[in-house]
Amino acid sequence: MPETAPRAPGQPAGRAGRIERTLREALAPQRLEIADDSHRHAGHAGARPEGETHFRVTIVAERFEGLSRVERQRLVNGLLSAEFESGLHALQLSTRTPAEAGPA
């Protein structure tokens, strides 16, 4: 597997970076964590040699207030539709409001 290109500090590379920018802009989250789990699924159907297929995202945002679990995930999935179209295979989501998440 080729090494990922060096990147500027504070600027996550590739899909993780795009996911982060998209979600920050759209949801103004209080907390946002993005983990690339692709290596844990290497060789499994849906995995690609170049990786960037399996992500785990934790979002705490006011925007989720009043939305059901399904509505929250639909919102996030919709924001990331371009990523699904370009090879994102699995997205584990935790979507909570600040009240649900409790004090940081």
Partner: protein, 112 residues
């Protein structure tokens, strides 16, 4: 319903109380996320129909379009989309899943 797969999905989720669209079968799940939902359902003692989307490329894409949901697994209860792996796990842990199943008249093991 312009997509012919939609009718098949609709029939499946209408005729069966609990349907899990998954990768692999309940006995041999082929994806960790599908396996996790099977485990929850087994723990609750809930009878469900597992439908292996890997056997049918049309269904694999069709169920994503039908539910407007980009990933597998997907759980349906009484014709209603409940969620994917994260949602099922969260609802199970909070007891909401058991409540939902019971409200919909689906039998859940008493000690679960």
């Amino acid at each position: 319903m312009d997509n012919p797969v939609f009718q098949r999905i609709k029939d499946d989720v209408t005729e069966n109380d609990v349907v899990l669209f998954m990768k692999g079968t309940p006995v041999f799940p082929q994806c960790g996320f599908s396996a996790a939902v099977v485990q929850v359902m087994s723990h609750l003692g809930v009878k469900f129909k597992g439908i292996n989307v890997l056997e049918d490329p049309g269904l694999r894409q069709g169920i994503k379009d039908y539910s407007s949901w980009p990933t597998i697994p997907q759980l349906y209860v009484k014709g209603e989309f409940v969620g994917g792996c994260d949602i099922i796990r969260e609802m199970f842990e909070s007891g909401e899943l058991q409540e939902l199943l019971q409200t919909k008249g689906v039998e859940v093991r008493a000690d679960a």
